[in-house]
């Protein structure tokens, strides 16, 4: 049952990292939460403080891809809830889109940074919603 073990472990690790990646900007930016916890590191520029957020973002997508690849290679997708798998595919596409958006925000070259941050935020909500639906239907 190694297929199940690796699939399940990778899925949960990707979910935990996703949660951590989402939380980080709120802990590193000046927010009520960061001030209460004292996690804001105001001596460094904001985009440099976000290095862990970037690393997690780059890590979650390949983890999610492996999480999908292992059961597909073993033929384990047969019989699973297909709606859940399509939703998971959408989640994976959104993860890669999020990386592209994040790279633009990190480079700070965007002409409309506010708009890009808003899209980054809504894509994040889309990832959370689709990942939760996938866990509900296939977990």
């Amino acid at each position: 049952m190694n297929t199940f073990f690796y699939t399940s472990t990778l899925g949960w690790l990707a979910s935990i990292l996703l949660g951590a990646g989402i939380l980080l900007p709120y802990l590193l930016r000046r927010t009520a939460l960061s001030q209460r916890l004292g996690t804001e590191q105001s001596e460094k520029p904001y985009l440099r403080r976000m290095w862990a957020h970037y690393c997690i973002g780059y890590l979650v997508a390949p983890l999610a891809l492996l999480h999908a690849w292992i059961p597909m290679q073993a033929g384990g997708a047969h019989g699973a809830n297909m709606a859940g798998l399509w939703i998971a595919t959408a989640s994976l596409v959104l993860l890669f889109l999020q990386i592209v958006l994040g790279l633009g925000l990190k480079a700070a070259t965007s002409l409309d940074r506010q708009r890009d941050r808003r899209i980054h935020y809504w894509v994040m909500l889309g990832i959370v919603a689709t990942a939760a639906a996938h866990v509900w239907l296939n977990g």
Partner: protein
């Protein structure tokens, strides 16, 4: 909002908060790995019953059987045939019929009640009744994870 003063006290507070967050995430990851390993172990452990063992099991004894569901009716009864384990992920059909009763106390692992439909592959842990049916205590949905020869 005022900037947090960069004092030793605030640095200690920050260090403590980050340590707590990292520790929480590590515990969460550890729990996820442990939970996955436990479920994977329960999946392979339940495959221990042989066809002859199931045939000889007495009423009241506990059995663990793999079965292919032929019909899962609304009467909370699942009918199918016993599967014989060949390798960790390969099983073969036998001629032995299995009837299992699902009750409120039946726990479902890796799926829900609706997943025990016709052609689904499941592991049942339960108690043999006088009529040779099995009162299911736990059902693990294995569709997609095991294959028939």
């Amino acid at each position: 909002m005022q900037a947090t003063p960069n004092t030793g006290e605030s640095k200690n507070k920050s260090r403590l908060a980050w340590s707590a967050i990292i520790a929480f995430l590590t515990v969460l990851a550890g729990f996820a790995i442990w939970h996955s390993a436990r479920t994977a172990a329960s999946m392979s452990g339940t495959a221990s019953s042989e066809e002859s063992q199931f045939a000889q099991a007495k009423a009241g004894s506990k059995v663990k059987v793999a079965m292919e569901v032929a019909s899962g009716g609304a009467d909370e009864t699942v009918r199918g045939i016993l599967l014989q384990k060949k390798t960790e992920e390969k099983y073969a059909r036998t001629s032995t019929q299995v009837v299992a009763h699902i009750a409120d106390h039946t726990a479902f692992v890796m799926g829900k009640r609706d997943d025990a439909h016709a052609s689904a592959m499941i592991y049942i842990t339960g108690v043999v009744q006088k009529d040779r049916s099995v009162d299911a205590e736990q059902i693990v949905i294995l569709t997609g994870y095991i294959h028939l020869e």
